[in-house]
């Protein structure tokens, strides 16, 4: 067994050497068999990406283009394979999105292109690739990251979807407001449903879980903002769509409940310092629909106020809410047909979509702003738990 003589970190050049024949083993141990919930929990965020990049650096240093190509192709295919196998697991998808982005950032940061080197230390500049320009592979990785992001959105959507209507619309937390049900309407959820019913708290807890996993995986803060914005869009769109289809959700007290729920979601954003993510803005149509349930709907002035207030709702949506509006007590009144006509007349010049429902499946375009790392490659050590004893630090 070769004697492993410890070296000082300054002696390392931030590369990892491996035999060409060991490449499948590298991909298997580092990508295919790595469990985000097991070994990976204790790794520094992005470690698989740094390891892969340090292997690329060594192949580049050897001026071995076949080795570089092969490693990059196997890496990309390995990531695709694991996402095919465990693509419905939020942690796996989040983990590989973070690592794919980190790998992409490394390829930029050490590309030797000045625009990506602004924040590098002089030692980091010494670690730039020597022989190969990997710009085309960066494009492939960026395309892969987009695919993984879309997969992440589908996964979180599947988890959130069953909670939204129950937590945002049906479950009532404001005491005393909703005691009276709209006359002639039956409660959709049965009385025994409460045990298994999702509440706003369930949604908030789920948001916390998602957020803490994203952070734990070292996901870029700008990317976390985009994920959160997308989650809020889904919550807002699904809630509004259900409100637009259910008469029992169109009452003054539901408006109150929705506004309270939205305020709790805003509070969550504030707590996570995500108020500048654009997430709150995606709730605007829902917020306006809730306000519409609560404002007076009688006079010309009321019509005017509604038209200027509801600029995030389409005419079809405004009219639908007014048509569905159902008084729950003697202080409220049905909306007169003449009032709805008045609104329609005022909004006729609006060039908005005739669509009633929001596209709850819409995914905002994602971007991966360059996020260089201050981590010094020469200090990176490979934990034994990764079973990568066949690669050595150079």
């Amino acid at each position: 067994r070769p004697l492993n003589i410890p070296r000082k970190e300054k002696d390392f050049q931030g590369m990892l050497e491996y035999k060409r024949d060991d490449e499948p083993k590298l991909i298997k141990n580092l990508i295919l068999d790595l469990k985000p919930r097991g070994v990976a929990v204790n790794l520094i965020p992005g470690l698989p990406a740094y390891i892969l990049f340090m292997c690329v650096r060594h192949a580049d240093y050897l001026n071995d283009d076949q080795k570089v190509r092969s490693l990059l192709t196997s890496t990309i295919n390995g990531i695709k394979k694991i996402l095919k196998k465990r693509g419905d697991d939020f942690e796996t998808v989040s983990f590989w999105l973070s690592n794919t982005c980190r790998f992409l950032h490394c390829l930029k940061q050490y590309s030797g292109e000045e625009s990506f080197m602004k924040h590098n230390t002089s030692r980091q500049n010494e670690h730039c690739l020597t022989n190969f320009d990997l710009a085309e592979y960066r494009q492939v990785l960026s395309d892969l990251a987009i695919q993984i992001y879309q997969q992440l959105v589908r996964v979180l959507e599947n988890i959130l979807q069953p909670m939204i209507v129950s937590g945002m619309l049906e479950h009532e937390t404001i005491q005393g407001v909703s005691g009276v049900k709209p006359t002639g309407l039956r409660k959709r959820t049965s009385s025994i449903a409460d045990e298994g019913t999702y509440t706003l708290d369930s949604i908030v807890r789920q948001l916390n879980t998602f957020h803490s996993i994203l952070c734990q995986h070292g996901m870029d803060p700008e990317l976390i903002k985009q994920v959160v914005k997308q989650m809020f869009y889904i919550i807002g769109a699904v809630t509004l769509n259900n409100l637009l289809l259910r008469k029992d959700m169109c009452s003054w007290s539901k408006g109150m409940q929705i506004r309270y729920n939205v305020s709790q979601l805003e509070e969550w954003l504030r707590d996570k310092n995500l108020m500048n993510s654009g997430a709150k803005e995606t709730l605007e149509p829902l917020i306006q629909a809730a306000q519409l349930l609560q404002v007076k709907k009688k006079t010309d002035e009321d019509a005017e106020a509604i038209c200027s207030m509801c600029n995030a709702l389409t005419t079809a949506q405004i009219v639908k809410v007014l048509n569905l509006y159902t008084p729950v007590n003697e202080f409220e009144e049905r909306v007169l047909v003449s009032f709805i006509r008045n609104i329609q007349l005022r909004l006729r010049d609006r060039k908005d979509s005739p669509q009633l429902l929001m596209d709850a499946k819409h995914i905002f375009p994602v971007t991966f702003p360059f996020n260089p790392s201050s981590l010094a490659l020469e200090t990176i050590q490979i934990p034994g738990s990764l079973a990568l004893g066949f690669i050595s630090r150079v």
Binding site: K80, G112, M117, N131, F132, D133, E136, V140
Partner: protein, 31 residues
């Protein structure tokens, strides 16, 4: 330190779809 010159040899890369096709045909060949 002055930035180093850019690496010169551009490694041509297949697209993501092409890569997958190559990978699938490799898988097909495997026993």
């Amino acid at each position: 330190a002055a930035p180093r010159a850019r690496p010169r040899i551009l490694l041509k890369a297949p697209t993501l779809a092409e890569m997958e096709e190559m990978n699938l045909s490799e898988d097909d060949d495997s026993p």
